[in-house]
């Protein structure tokens, strides 16, 4: 199986990867590629980064458990394999499953070993031209704080690290690379061109000539103005944050002048641009340390670019793709105003995963359901309790909060009317159907019971029984996949 190495650089990289995990969980597939996510972010204590790592590990474990011993299941929830770089290069010395770079706690000045220089060394003058005193004194453990000039120096050392060596040894024929970064920050803006150059100048031909795609996220949020705070040590005022979102667009324009050069275009096969500069009225909190930002639909649509890249073949370099809304400049995006192609690509699967999250518990808690008895699922739920707890944790700790964040951000992405109702007639915004009094007696309802019926019907199929012999967990998920798809397809024309 060929591999797709997906590099998520900086906070945006981690966020887009999180959205990618949700899309893969819904059953969308990057062809037959095995996905190897790799995170690059010097801000090692960032909650978003660590959450992303836990989510990736959780997904990876779920995928391995569901599809273990079953190779002939082509579609399904959590179908795409996510593996860790560390597992592919066991002897590489890589410390973390997903992280490429190692923790740097030094201030940037010490990282450059400026203390080794004499006070009158002209190199110091040159360094002072390129970097401010604040740049040199800031510890690298909190990231590059929107300074790509710092990031490009630090990240250039990546090619000598254990991560890069592990990547080199694991990379094989037909493997591909995809790089996710933002253009308006520090880490992503610095890391993307550097990585690209390192790959294209690599000594191994399979790396040098492989298909490389990238997602460049342009500004899509604002940050609140930094506050003046008193620095007791220096006895002077200083700003609470070094990042000023008013500079995002200027930085973007500056970087784009480089990205559109032919010598840069020749380095990638496909470059996807996405952004949303004009629809955020309420800025994110300007807290560099924690960055408590909600999930955003731009990250979700950005994640689709990974799948688009994987599902196409590129023979030339310099292809550029841009995402945009259908026509209206709306504050709430749903399946009625998103692009037709985009809706067709992920609309149904997006709904399917939500339905799975709602039926999973109710299916387990009904031991008298015929397929629970016939397939001995009641025993399976007890025997594999840890696995089902993990599934539950995926939904309650990651998926549902993520969905909730998407529907409470600006712009809002709210295609699903989340509710506790046991029927799904009003589930999809813009695609609501009427309920009638003869539902469940004459006409078929659109609810959990119909999914259970379709699962019961599917459970008699020979290939499902065969899957059950190899792996009952896979049988359970294949049945859920069949049942939900059947009911959603017959009730909604997305």
């Amino acid at each position: 199986m060929a591999r797709l190495f997906v590099f998520g650089i900086g906070g945006t990289g981690a966020r887009v990867l999180k959205s990618l995990v949700m899309l893969l969980a819904s059953g969308l597939r990057p062809r037959d590629f095995e996905v190897i996510p790799i995170l690059i972010d010097p801000h090692k204590d960032l909650k978003e980064l660590n959450d992303c790592k836990i989510l990736l590990k959780l997904y990876s474990d779920l995928n391995h458990r569901i599809y273990d011993k079953t190779t002939n299941v082509e579609q399904g929830f959590f179908r795409t394999t996510i593996s860790t770089l560390k597992s592919l290069a066991v002897d590489s010395g890589l410390k973390d499953d997903f992280e490429f770079d190692e923790r740097q706690d030094l201030p940037f000045g010490q990282f450059l070993e400026l203390t080794e220089l004499k006070d009158n060394d002209p190199t110091l003058d040159f360094v002072n031209l390129l970097f401010s005193i604040e740049n040199l004194n800031k510890p690298l453990s909190v990231g590059f704080k929107g300074n790509p000039n710092v990031g490009s120096i630090v990240l250039n050392t990546l090619k000598d690290g254990a991560g890069f060596k592990a990547f080199e040894s694991a990379f094989g024929n037909d493997d591909r690379i995809f790089i996710i970064s933002s253009i308006f920050g520090g880490t992503g803006a610095a890391g993307f061109p550097l990585l690209l150059k390192n790959f294209r100048n690599h000594s191994k031909t399979i790396i040098k000539e492989c298909q490389i795609g990238a997602l460049t996220v342009t500004p899509y949020y604002k940050l609140s103005e930094a506050q003046k705070i008193k620095n007791e040590d220096a006895n002077e005022d200083q700003l609470s944050s070094d990042v000023d979102s008013n500079n995002f667009m200027t930085k973007t324009k500056a970087a784009l002048t480089y990205y559109i050069r032919d010598e840069f275009k020749n380095l990638y096969n496909a470059l996807y641009y996405i952004g949303d500069p004009d629809k955020q009225n309420k800025p994110y909190e300007n807290d560099e340390k924690n960055q408590p930002d909600k999930a955003h639909y731009i990250e979700l649509l950005g994640a689709l670019s990974v799948l688009d890249f994987a599902n196409k073949d590129f023979t030339t370099t310099g292809d550029v793709f841009e995402y945009c809304l259908k026509k209206e400049n709306v504050s709430t995006v749903d399946f009625t105003n998103i692009g037709d192609n985009t809706r067709e690509i992920f609309g149904k699967m997006f709904v399917n995963l939500y339905i799975l999250s709602t039926i999973n518990d109710s299916t387990k808690n009904k031991p008298n359901l015929p397929f629970n008895k016939t397939n001995k699922f009641n025993d399976l739920y007890k025997k594999e309790r840890g696995f089902f707890d993990n599934i539950n944790s995926f939904f309650t700790a990651y998926y549902l909060p993520w969905l909730n964040e998407l529907s409470n951000n600006e712009r809002m992405f709210k295609p699903i009317n989340i509710s506790d109702k046991p029927y799904f007639n009003g589930l999809i915004k813009g695609y609501e159907t009427e309920r009638n009094i003869l539902e469940g007696i004459v006409t078929k309802p659109f609810d959990i019971s119909q999914i259970h019926l379709e699962i019961a019907k599917a459970s008699r199929k020979k290939y499902i029984l065969k899957i059950g012999e190899a792996n009952p967990i896979c049988q359970y998920f294949s049945l859920c996949w069949q049942g939900i798809n059947e009911v959603v397809n017959s009730n909604i024309n997305l």
Partner: protein
Amino acid sequence: MWKSIYNAFLQMLTTTWADFIRIHAGCGRKVRDTFITEIYSTIGLELVIITIIFLFLYYYYLNMRFGKYYHKATYFTIMIINSVFIGIVTYFTAKGYLNKMICPVSSHVIWISIINFLYAAILYFILSIIFKWFSPMGKRTPF
């Protein structure tokens, strides 16, 4: 055979035909003959046909078109409706055959309705063991 089953049960719950004929010399024999030659076969046929219809309704309509009727409660509810329906049909069928008789036949009509009510429940249960195998949601109902 089913005539014997009906006949034995009815005599057990009412009076033996010998006693009935002895008490009602004028029409007792005719009542007995009507039961044996016409009523038992008709209500037996009604029992089978109606029960099969109800089983079809339960297993191949409700449990093939919908996913919420697999519970035992629904199964037993349909069983009771089937039995009551058969009991009522039996009552009117028997009464129709015996309406010109001058003997008092009410207790026989009521008891044969009750007997068919019980037989309906038994037949419903027995046939459901076969019917359930081909119904996706009813496959494990009642067990």
